[in-house]
Symmetry: C2
Subunit: 218 residues, 2 copies
DNA sequence: ACCTCCTGTCACCGGTTGGTGACATTTTAA
DNA sequence: TTAAAATGTCACCAACCGGTGACAGGAGGT
């Protein structure tokens, strides 16, 4: 009742809870204070204003699933019987991304919020994820150098963007372009399509190598 | 001043204007009435309530760029010197989609609105576009039957979803996964990546054909 | 001329938003 | 013990939201 840090904690906790339950748009001074069981004037005292609260939440909260485990999982899988091809690694990363994103409502809300408006929370979270994404690409090219021949970043961007959109879309629609994105079966089709696209582009790049230059590296 | 139809027209027109200028979230009774120069009570009289207004607007307005011209353009291009491959047609369609979507702020707002919430407007527009999308896939498979061997719908869904997300994302962010989606150069990379992915998967599907069965159709 | 219906105008409702000033209580330091 | 500073409480603000009731004026039909 008289502990500043505890009160601050309850407020930040409430922000996280609202983000996960009510969604990004539910985050407001009145709603947060109500959910935290705290007078809203304390929010102003401790965080300045709403943007300040969001800024604080963005830099402290662990609202985004760790991409580190995603990379580690994929790199561990690389130590499988025979070395994975770049395509396998890329596919593993993208499938991991689907899994992580699909299981975190907060992450989905955050991504949605980033689309809707620029604000303190979305700016910080976007910037943080941007860094993680760069790490991901870097990890891909590092462990599978042949991925460097193609514009892996642009393809990863396009495919992960597609997966992201379909994930967000499934929240309000059942179908997209005839695909039943609300069902398990629809997502199996999407994963398969993603897999075929990735494999196809790597195989095509190999073919081009054989045609254009006779000696192949390694 | 005493013409019901004219007033109705001004109201619907204002909805379209708000959609294009202020965005989806700006559509509200008070805002519409202000923009239309009409007392808001008339909106209630002529359209019932806000959902009713949106329903009316959704079924009358031409807020979505015509996909028909998109298909026709692609099919006319098919009458080029030598018949286009399925991959060329698919790429042409997707590039057309980028062009159409990129030039229509209303369309972008509508897509954003569909992500945010289910309401009368987003429901109708989503359903209408769903039909157009099915036409698109149908046109693709019709003019290029070899596309039927792969899950063209799932791939089209994934790729167009990716393009859509990046387009919406560019409204609030400058970069995505290191790609500068706010610049022309970034979009050239994205288009190129999309092209490589599509070509790759078609070529891979041809290779599989040659391996699995010796006689190829046509 | 009368009455009715339709169009348009205006003031108002309860509820929400982000934000502030004044004050009581508690904790801490001198 | 006393004074200052931090913490918590409450009432209030203007601006907005979607929605409604009452009323004025004009048009058409009888």
């Amino acid at each position: 009742m008289r502990d500043r840090e505890e009160t601050r904690g309850k407020i930040l906790e409430a922000v996280g809870k609202i983000l996960a339950e009510d969604g990004f748009q539910g985050i407001g001074i009145n709603n947060v204070s109500r959910k935290a069981g705290v007078d809203k004037v304390l929010i102003y005292r401790y965080f300045g204003d709403l943007p300040g609260l969001l800024r604080e939440f963005a830099s402290n909260g662990d609202y985004w699933p760790s991409m580190k485990t995603l990379i580690e999982d994929a790199e561990n899988a690389e130590k499988a019987p025979f070395p994975l091809e770049a395509s396998d690694l890329a596919i593993a990363l993208l499938k991991g991304y689907i899994r992580e994103l699909g299981s975190s409502n907060s992450a989905q809300e955050l991504l949605l919020g980033e689309l809707i408006s620029r604000n303190e929370l979305s700016a910080v979270s976007a910037e943080r994820r941007e860094r993680q994404g760069a790490d991901l690409i870097e990890a891909l090219v590092r462990t599978a150098p042949e991925a460097g021949k193609i514009d892996a970043a642009a393809m990863a961007a396009l495919l992960s963007a597609g997966l992201t959109y379909l994930m967000l879309r499934a929240r309000t629609s059942d179908a997209y372009l005839g695909i039943d994105i609300a069902s398990e079966g629809g997502w199996i089709r999407i994963e398969k399509a993603m897999e075929d696209l990735v494999r196809g582009v790597f195989r095509a790049s190999e073919m081009d190598d054989e045609q254009s230059q006779d000696r192949r590296p390694q």
